[in-house]
Structures are given as C-alpha cells and as structure tokens.
Symmetry: C2
Subunit: 137 residues, 2 copies
Amino acid sequence: METIAIGELSRRTRCNIETIRYYERIGLLPMPARRGRYRSFGLADVARVHFVRRARELGFTLDEIRALLGIATAEDMACGDAREIAASHLQQVRARITDLRRMERVLADTVRACDAGDQVGCPLITTLSATAQLGTI
Amino acid sequence: METIAIGELSRRTRCNIETIRYYERIGLLPMPARRGRYRSFGLADVARVHFVRRARELGFTLDEIRALLGIATAEDMACGDAREIAASHLQQVRARITDLRRMERVLADTVRACDAGDQVGCPLITTLSATAQLGTI
DNA sequence: CTACCGTCTGTAGGAACTACAGACTCAACC
DNA sequence: GGTTGAGTCTGTAGTTCCTACAGACGGTAG
C-alpha cells in the first residue's frame, strides 16, 4: 500500500505541516509509522485530516472533533450522539450570527453617520463614548 | 475630585479587575496614580474603560481600539481615520457573517437529515467524510 | 489583636494554531 | 566522492484576549 511523507499529506489535505504535527501531538491523529526518522502516512490519514479540516471549517472545536472522530470510527456508530454535537454547535453558530448582526447594524449606522457628516464630532467616537450599553440598544 | 480603587472601577465598568490590570500592562490605560501601593483612578479612567469595553463588544481588536483611543483623545480628532477603521471592521464582520451562514446551512441540513433518519449511516459523519470541500458547496 | 476583605505582583493557562532555530536525511548532480 | 538543496526532525516560543491562581501585603472593624 501507498505511504506518503508529511509534505505530501500536507499538500493533499491543504493542511499546514506544523498543524498536522500539532494534531498528532494532541492525539487527534494516531502516531504514524516511521521510515527511519520520517513519518510515513497512509490513505486513512489523508481521510482523517480531511475530516478534521472540514469539521474545523464548520467551526467545530478540536474537542468536538475528537468526539466526532470517536463516533465515526466506533463499531456501533452512535449517530444520535453526533446529532447532539451538531445541533448544539448549530445553536452556537446561530447565537454568534445574532451577535454579529447586532454589531453590523451599529457599525453600519455609524459609518453612515460619518458619511452624512451632519453631526458635531465623530459619530464613531460618540457611539463608543455613549453611556448606553450596547446590550440595551 | 473623586478617586476610586480598582474594585470600584471594575464594578462601575463591569470589567474584570484582572482585565483592567491587563489593559494597563499593554498600555491601553495610562499608569494610574497610587495611594500607597494601591491604584487610584478618576472619572476619566471610568470613561476610558467603558470605551474599550464597548469597542470590544463591537468586535474591535485591542490594536484597533488603541488607534481609536488615540483619535478620540487627539486635539484635531481625525474622524476620517476612525471611519476607515470602522468601515474596514464592518467588512470583516460581514465576511464573518457570510461564513457563519454557510456553516449554519450545512449544519442545519445535516441535523435535518439526522431527524429524517432515511439515510444509510450518519449524515454528519457522511458530510465530514465527503470528498467535496466546503468551499465548493 | 486578629479576622477579613481588598489589593498587590508575577506567572501560567487556554484555543488553535504558526513560526522559528538548529540539526539531520536523502536524492541528485558534477 | 563531495556538495548542494529540499525535505524533515524536535523543541520551544509567539499570537489574541483575557482569566486564574499563589503568596504577600494594606486597611479597617470588632
């Protein structure tokens, strides 16, 4: 079977070499075989790194990914558990979007005020100096 | 004029004591006067910490806030510069929202597939194992 | 006098990488 | 055979924005 070096794994997965070694260090990837001093990877490693990177793109934390990997490779794949992780993560993503939309509104209003230029003083500085808490806006 | 201790400053600004000291350490807050060994703050410090916290709530980085503080306290307040910082930050916020919405869509679809339960295997694991990059979805 | 709270300094940790330094290995080329 | 160059190795330190101690000191109330 084909074995590849870390550089090739990095190229195929678009994952930084240092990041791959980091994933190994924290136990997300199994310790690979060695050819001499060099790490020697197989196709399963390519798939696993792809999996991790895709999950990261979806914003899963490394701890969540660790759990997902456990589920993915378990004999009796606990799909319900995976659903739970995804659903809880989805909630967090939605909360974050709500946050960011609030920020966006305030920022956009402020920049608009800047462009209108009919205020005394700088609208942004005024916003940041205002007594009102953002939470109450 | 009134002077307050760090605990009172923390209470008034809802900013952690340790965080206040941290802001001082990195130069976001001026080194305060001391009464004996204890820091002694004035109303300007209250306003400044409020400013920083509000800017953080809007997602500005501490470096951006440093610049904004410079502008806010300059003689000839460079409002245009502040507008630039805000506009550029607004762009980043919007980009982040776009990212998160993509994540949300994939996650929501996957959880829905889980609930439908008409797939072979776990939809989440399948999604993460798929060859397609998220960027291409 | 002794509790007790507040404050002090300095350092370490967390998340998820990234970026070196300095040493080694391996294949190719002359 | 020598040497270049690319790849890899380990180990450590930096990034951002805090947060959490440990261990010592200050000021006040009972």
